[in-house]
């Protein structure tokens, strides 16, 4: 349809197409538009030379600037580390016991701890630090602590771990299995007595006797537990492995005992300090004076244990 003609009204040539009487004018583009177009082409050529652009067999052309997204990431990570170094130095300098008294620094430590928690701890303790009763991972939000809940004790526990080898100062204890020791009637009496400690069942003399003979050493005469050996308090509402009678009987026969890696071997002391601050801040943190945990025999120097 090369029916080009000059439009009378505008004195402009048409493109030569016609649709139901509608024609299109071939209006010239402004010259500056053309130059902008050429400019863009020139820019694109320059861009392809200095930046990675053309895909080859194994990788794209590298570009004369040597830029790469990995390189940029590394640079940004380095810059972020440098930015954090000042706060980390401050946190490193302060005694962890004094940390909660400095609200600003504490807030920064908690924020840093929250980030580290998301990377290292959520696999067991959950992203909300609520643990799991089914799997037996302790809830860190509540006020019940197996090994102690003041900030320094938390730091110690994180550094040295629980019931895992490779650390001389680890939290270590074991509850003996009672499978085959009690007959079903004795077991029922004992479990009922354990429940009675928190007022969930009536006390019974037989169970109390078995408890006194076998359990008092670690769990205490009133079920108050013992944090030096991580023996749980039995006289409260919180049950790590379940609080029904069946759960308790199961635990007596074949005790489950949790483990935690010693993070001192993997994380630097400042990160552990921040993690301790975060766990402490979750709502169940205890004051140093309140805690019943005696100082660990070997003083923690805050350095990672290799």
């Amino acid at each position: 349809m090369a029916n080009k003609r000059i439009d009378e009204a505008t004195q402009t040539e048409t493109v030569g197409h016609e649709w139901d009487g509608i024609e299109e004018l071939n209006t010239p583009l402004p010259r500056w538009w053309l130059w902008s177009f050429y400019g863009c082409i020139a820019f694109a050529i320059g861009y392809m030379i200095v930046y990675p652009a053309i895909p080859m067999v194994h990788k794209a052309t590298e570009g004369t600037l040597g830029w790469s997204s990995r390189g940029q990431l590394a640079e940004e990570m380095k810059a972020a580390d440098a930015e954090r170094s000042e706060v980390r130095a401050k946190i490193a300098a302060v005694d962890i016991v004094k940390l909660p008294e400095q609200p600003d620094l504490m807030a920064q430590a908690v924020a840093g701890g929250a980030a580290a928690f998301k990377v290292n701890c959520v696999q067991c303790h959950g992203s909300g630090a609520a643990g799991s009763q089914t799997l037996g991972y302790p809830n860190l939000n509540d006020d019940d602590w197996l090994w102690g809940g003041d900030i320094k004790t938390i730091e110690y526990t994180i550094t040295h771990g629980i019931r895992q080898a490779n650390d001389d100062d680890l939290r270590q204890s074991a509850m003996p299995p009672f499978a085959g020791v009690f007959d079903p009637q004795q077991l029922d009496a004992l479990a009922t007595h354990v429940l009675s400690l928190s007022g969930k069942a009536k006390p019974n003399a037989q169970g109390a006797q078995i408890y006194a003979d076998n359990c008092v050493v670690c769990h205490g005469d009133k079920g108050q537990g013992d944090r030096t050996v991580g023996a749980p308090r039995l006289a409260d509402a919180i049950w790590l492995y379940g609080g029904t009678k069946a759960d308790i009987e199961k635990q007596i026969l074949n005790p489950r005992m949790g483990q935690m890696p010693h993070w001192g071997g993997r994380l630097d002391p400042v990160t552990i300090k921040m993690l301790a601050a975060y766990v402490y801040s979750l709502g169940g943190g205890e004051k140093i004076a309140q805690t019943t945990t005696p100082e660990p025999v070997k003083q923690d120097d805050g350095q990672p244990q290799q």
């Binding site: 505008t10 010239p28 019940d144 509402a237 709502g283």
Partner: protein
């Protein structure tokens, strides 16, 4: 009537859109032109507009003075807001997320005020367009104002139209190089000043000026100035009317909003045609119209169009051609207004020999009244909201993981992030209470559980939102239920607010 919207006309081939479908008042008398040679790209034809004086030119001077004055001076106006807020009258504080405008301070969540202002500006433009046509384009648009300014620079450096045309055509001698260099230096200075003024709206102007010249300002400040200097230099100094004709969407939108009742700048062809010189007209009385074809209207036009070809997209209705034509008409003793502001309706009336309607009738017709009504309603609504808004508010977000917490004594604990907003520029004490949830107590992340209460008094810093981690503990066997956090400012204002919250417990189906 025919539509004046014909976007195909160009600078080189100014064309009457009206002639595509001849209207009853626009008739063409010029001989048919030779078909233009086909060109794919169009070179710009430089516009060397002539100096003119007259009422519209003086109005343009006035508008230029006011708009440039507002633009350059506003950031330097001080406004005392006390020790906790900046003292700059107009400040868009992006870093602290605050927008200050004299006595008004806007927080990000109140951005609907700014949206409202923008809507008002939009409807205001509709109103102005339907009443007086493209007045925005002609007088107030930054592109027009700066182009006008730069054209005055041209005149100042190179002389008026004829001198400039001669210089343009002249070979590149040292004199011309020096002249051009001088002119472009002035362009650049104005462009730099323009870019520099812009950043002053985003930081304390005196501090930023000092930092800028001592190299301590943020890189974004230098980048912004560089970009705005470049755009001002290029758009105002060189692109000029091409921005209006090729780049700006607004003329296209406006042509859709103009109707036969809108005022536009128009050539009254029934009075002017056929054109003939004064001499010819004297020889043949009654044969020629009022237009003597002196082309003064074309020479003064800042976009280089010929208004006598009818309404067209290149016309920004700056009315300088009216000034030019009126002057000529006065000189040759003919009545003014051969080119004039008129509505197309009135043009028809005048052409038919009737008297045009009075100006107030032109301005007041249903469309303008409705636009004004909407515009004023939004303005009044925003003023009311501004006057009655509270400067205290509270919000509460529950922790979802874990939703609730069993404590060792069987009590239940929920955690919330409670935010207290103090929009006053002074520190305030606020009382936070638990409203509902019998037996519950709360404490914050920086308090001790032992001090848990139902009421807490919190110090909130000036002009800030304070986020608190709040633990609410409720006796054993509490059922899941809704309650409120309430806040009261402990000052004479006694502003209150409350936030809904839910206490989650085992068995909560939510």
């Amino acid at each position: 009537m025919d539509s004046p919207n014909n976007s195909t006309d160009t600078v080189e081939q100014p064309v009457s859109a009206a002639s595509a479908k001849p209207s009853d008042f626009t008739k063409r008398h010029d001989p048919p032109r030779e078909p233009a040679p086909v060109k794919l790209y169009e070179k710009r034809r430089a516009v060397h507009n002539k100096r003119i004086d007259g009422p519209f030119r003086r109005f343009k001077w006035f508008v230029m003075l006011v708009t440039l004055g507002i633009y350059y001076i506003t950031p330097w106006i001080r406004w005392d807001r006390g020790p906790y807020a900046p003292d700059q009258a107009v400040l868009v504080d992006l870093a602290n997320r605050r927008f200050y405008m004299f006595g008004i301070e806007i927080w990000p969540q109140e951005f609907y005020f700014v949206a409202g202002l923008l809507i008002m500006a939009g409807i205001g433009l509709f109103l102005v367009t339907s009443a007086v046509g493209r007045a925005w384009c002609g007088y107030a648009c930054p592109q027009t104002v700066w182009t006008d300014l730069f054209q005055h620079i041209d005149r100042f450096v190179d002389g008026d139209r004829n001198a400039r045309m001669r210089l343009d055509a002249a070979p590149w001698t040292w004199g011309k190089v020096l002249r051009r260099g001088f002119k472009w230096t002035i362009y650049l200075a104005i462009a730099f000043w323009t870019g520099g003024a812009w950043i002053m709206y985003f930081a304390d102007a005196p501090t930023l000026t000092h930092d800028f010249w001592t190299g301590q300002a943020a890189p974004v400040a230098y980048a912004t100035v560089a970009i705005l200097t470049a755009t001002t230099f290029v758009l105002g100094g060189f692109m000029r009317e091409q921005v209006c004709i090729y780049m700006c969407p607004w003329p296209r939108i406006q042509t859709a909003m103009l109707d036969e009742k809108s005022l536009i700048v128009t050539y009254k062809d029934w009075r002017g045609e056929p054109r003939g010189s004064v001499k010819k007209a004297a020889k043949n009385p009654g044969e020629f119209g009022d237009c003597i074809d002196c082309t003064q209207c074309v020479q003064v036009c800042p976009t280089g169009i010929d208004i006598r070809e009818g309404p067209q997209i290149g016309c920004i209705t700056c009315a300088l051609c009216i000034d030019a034509c009126d002057k000529v008409m006065k000189d040759i003793g003919r009545p003014r207004g051969l080119i004039d502001y008129a509505t197309l309706e009135d043009c028809k009336r005048e052409a038919a020999g009737e008297t045009p309607r009075p100006a107030w009738k032109t301005l007041l017709h249903p469309r303008t009244v409705i636009y004004f009504g909407i515009w004023a309603a939004i303005g009044l609504g925003m003023l009311f909201l501004l006057g009655t808004r509270s400067h205290t508010s509270i919000s509460a977000a529950p922790d979802r993981n874990p939703p609730y917490m069993l404590m060792s004594d069987g009590a239940l604990r929920n955690s919330y992030t409670v935010k207290l907003r103090n929009m006053e520029s002074r520190p305030r004490k606020m009382e936070v209470v638990i409203d509902g949830l019998p037996g519950a107590k709360m404490w914050t992340g920086t308090m001790d559980y032992a001090d848990a209460k139902r009421k807490l008094v919190i110090d909130v810093p000036p002009d800030e939102t304070k986020a608190l981690r709040v633990y609410v503990i409720s006796p054993p066997d509490t059922k899941a239920q809704d309650f409120h956090f309430g806040v009261t400012s402990l000052d004479p204002q006694k502003e209150t607010d409350q936030a809904e919250a839910r206490f989650t417990a085992p068995g909560d189906s939510e």
